[in-house]
């Protein structure tokens, strides 16, 4: 795993590894490009995307609305405060980081609110 990604995420920055040689995205993050195996370096990612699907978790400690978001060529599961969501809706990442136990989190809101 690309440790730089975690360092960046810990600071609340969502930057994803891009291949220095062919420009491909390494997602999930990796120090090497999955296409040509050259090194990658972090670049700031677009913070907007499309909500593909969403649900509500009732699991204690993991509760809340969550959804699969497509941002450019990557997909990620994030959390939402609002339950008034729709598939295909444009959304924006407002916050990201690492919890104390090392779990990543990504928070989104609809761009219309």
């Amino acid at each position: 795993m690309n440790q730089d990604f975690f360092t960046s995420l810990r600071k609340g920055e969502f930057r994803i590894p891009i291949c220095v040689s062919c420009g491909a995205i390494a997602w999930p993050p990796s120090a090497n490009c999955p296409k040509c195996l050259s090194p990658t370096q972090l670049k700031k990612s677009a913070s907007t995307g499309t909500l593909l699907e969403f649900s509500r978790s009732h699991v204690t400690g993991k509760d809340g609305v969550f959804g699969l978001v497509k941002m450019g060529d990557i997909r990620v599961i994030g959390s939402f405060d609002s339950g008034s969501l729709a598939e295909g809706m444009k959304v924006k990442m407002t916050q990201c980081g690492l919890l104390d136990d090392g779990t990543a989190y990504y928070r989104f809101v609809p761009t219309s609110t």
Partner: protein, 367 residues
Amino acid sequence: MHRVAIVSQSGSKYSKDSGKGIFDLACEPCARILNSENLDKANLGAVLFSSCTTEQYSSTILSELLGIRPQISHRIDNLCNSGTNAVVSGYSLIASGLCDTVLVVGAEKARSEGNKLGWDITRGSFMLPVHWAALFAKAHMRKYGTSEEEMAMVSVKNRGNASSNPDALFRNPVTLDEVMASRKIADPLKLLDCSAACDGASAVLLASEEKAKELTDEPVWIQGIGQYTSSASFANATADLCSIEAAKVAAQAAYKMSKTEPSQIDVAEVHDAFTILEILAYEDLGFTKKGTGGKFVKQDNIAINARGGIIGRGHPVGATGVAQVVEIADQLAGSAGDAQVKGCKKGLVHNLAAAGSSATVIVMGSE
């Protein structure tokens, strides 16, 4: 390639906590297999151990405990489809001529740390399997109108089948109302839409055609194998949340190798870790048209998860794929007891791991 037969198979009784260690669990189903009078137990070609245990050198320890000095021994770990991966590896050792007998053993403790996939950062803080399963379910409902009741009927069917299986984790059947009223886990999935991790073990003995003739009068043949790995992450597993790409590719390969059409399958064990996965399996395996899986639950042309599936029988992660092969081998050998499907000639195993990011499909036959 040499033909490969399953000559003996056995499973253990599943439980939430057996009170046994991983090796005691693993030895349990092997006793019936290894006590065959025609078998040169000490000199088996290989012992393959399917488990997510964090115990090191585990297949070698298991070999010693079973009194076997195999040529080849190693552990195979691929989360929920570890078991079928181990069977495929055993098949390869015999088909290539490297071994003439392979013992494949799957065993797991319910609380094994190795059962969890912590690597997939694309899942954010929603790391549990039920979270991706809920997204599959929502997508299928939205696109094809599949209902929560249709998903619940998978649980009713499989728990009903498990009620006559003395080895099953859950022996009590459930009603549609009970499934629908069970505690919400991740919408639309409820507690009774989900399988449960448990302690359990299963084992099969594979043999070359020549060796099989010495060991049994009723060999079950592995006729076709398909496997595919699309990713390890949920993000890259499948573009369309209404199907499992890896399962579709694996099924096509297994059907092609075995020269089988989906309509020829009489019995199947499909990976129902969540009810929605069984509905997707109906479609991905070509049993019914895309989008009609919800309606297919009530069909009776193919006996699917006749001994309870993962929802009823339980889910000891590393043992599950071996257990699925045991169930189909029992059916094709005519030794499935109360669950026996009369006249069955072809069976199929469908085994997934980690959001369907990898899949195995095995076609087996009595001829």
